[in-house]
């Protein structure tokens, strides 16, 4: 099996309430070197066999049409996960 990863992040201009809460928790726990945190989503799409360009294109289209909402989110990366075991 090959695997395509689609990373989705909140748009930079959208305040990320979850990221802010995580940042506050980190600081409380002594991780005070991080100025801010943003929280996004990672989707792993598995395909039969190798990851082809066609699969990458389809994953990008799915990312833009379904996996993200362009009003609040951006698809920031679409790539083959080389660590996935190919059957």
């Amino acid at each position: 099996m090959g695997r395509v990863v689609v990373d989705v992040m909140p748009k930079p201009e959208i305040l990320d309430p979850q990221g802010k809460a995580v940042a506050a928790a980190l600081s409380r726990l002594g991780f005070d070197q991080f100025a801010s945190v943003r929280q996004g989503k990672r989707f792993e799409l598995e395909v039969e066999g190798e990851v082809t360009q066609e699969a990458l294109d389809a994953a990008r289209a799915a990312g833009e049409q379904v996996l993200s909402n362009p009003v609040i989110e951006d698809v920031v990366a679409v790539y083959a996960d080389e660590t996935a075991v190919t059957a």
């Binding site: 201009e13 309430p17 979850q18 379904v66 909402n69 609040i72």
Partner: protein, 231 residues
């Protein structure tokens, strides 16, 4: 008697309340199922609140692809009155019938309160029985209620009178410009986060002028659409 469809998705919670509100207003509620591409000839549609598909992916994101939604989008574009409440509002934004989106409340907590709103546009199919600027109190209960849109879209909504409801006294979730509800350009599609269907019957609503739980400020959403349909 006008027939008002009430859609049930997997995870919808307030379909019974919405149907009851339609009946109390004098209409006939008609149950619509997410999996049926059939509006059963209804005169208007309510998308009720809840957590359709568990809010997986994003609130309303998966419901948008339900067979009943393609029928609703087509009919709404032809002028069918459609009201989206809470999760229903989220579904309408995901379906591109209304602009913008909802993200988590700015304070991250689930909020459940009796919320004061101002009616900013009393000319839509769902607000014509209110008066412009009237203050109403209906319940608000959600996690992802913070309305966001880009500045251009917000200016357009304000300029065209499409901000239909604004939070008063307190902004309970960080919504841009205190927006609680909006409409499409034609005014037949309205979405809001608070719940009019929970304030339609004395004894079961928010506290009102006549005492505890006496508030029925939500009922006129449903009488509005019934009078809009009669013409």
């Amino acid at each position: 008697m006008s027939r008002i469809g009430v859609v049930t998705f997997p995870g919808t919670l307030d379909d019974r309340d919405a149907s009851r509100a339609v009946r109390l207003a004098g209409g006939e509620p008609v149950a619509l199922w997410h999996g049926d591409a059939d509006l059963r000839g209804v005169d208007a549609v309510v998308l009720p609140g809840g957590f359709s598909y568990g809010d997986y992916l994003r609130a309303g994101a998966i419901s948008r692809f339900a067979p009943v939604m393609s029928e609703i989008v087509d009919a709404a574009n032809r002028g069918l009155p459609v009201l989206g409440i809470c999760n229903g509002f989220q579904v309408l934004t995901e379906a591109h019938l209304l602009p913008g989106s909802m993200i988590k409340n700015d304070h991250l907590h689930f909020v459940c309160r009796e919320q004061v709103l101002s009616v900013e546009n009393a000319d839509t199919a769902w607000t014509r029985d209110y008066t412009q600027g009237e203050r109403i109190t209906i319940p608000l209960k959600n996690q992802d209620g913070q309305y966001v849109a880009d500045e251009h879209t917000l200016d357009e909504l304000e300029g065209e009178g499409r901000v239909v409801f604004r939070y008063q006294d307190v902004n309970p979730n960080g919504s841009r410009r205190g927006i609680a509800g909006i409409s499409n350009a034609r005014g037949n599609v309205v979405g809001l986060m608070p719940h009019p269907e929970h304030a339609v019957e004395p004894g079961f609503g928010p506290d009102g002028a006549k005492g505890p739980r006496s508030g029925t400020d939500g009922l006129r959403f449903f009488t509005s659409v019934l009078s809009a349909l009669v013409g």
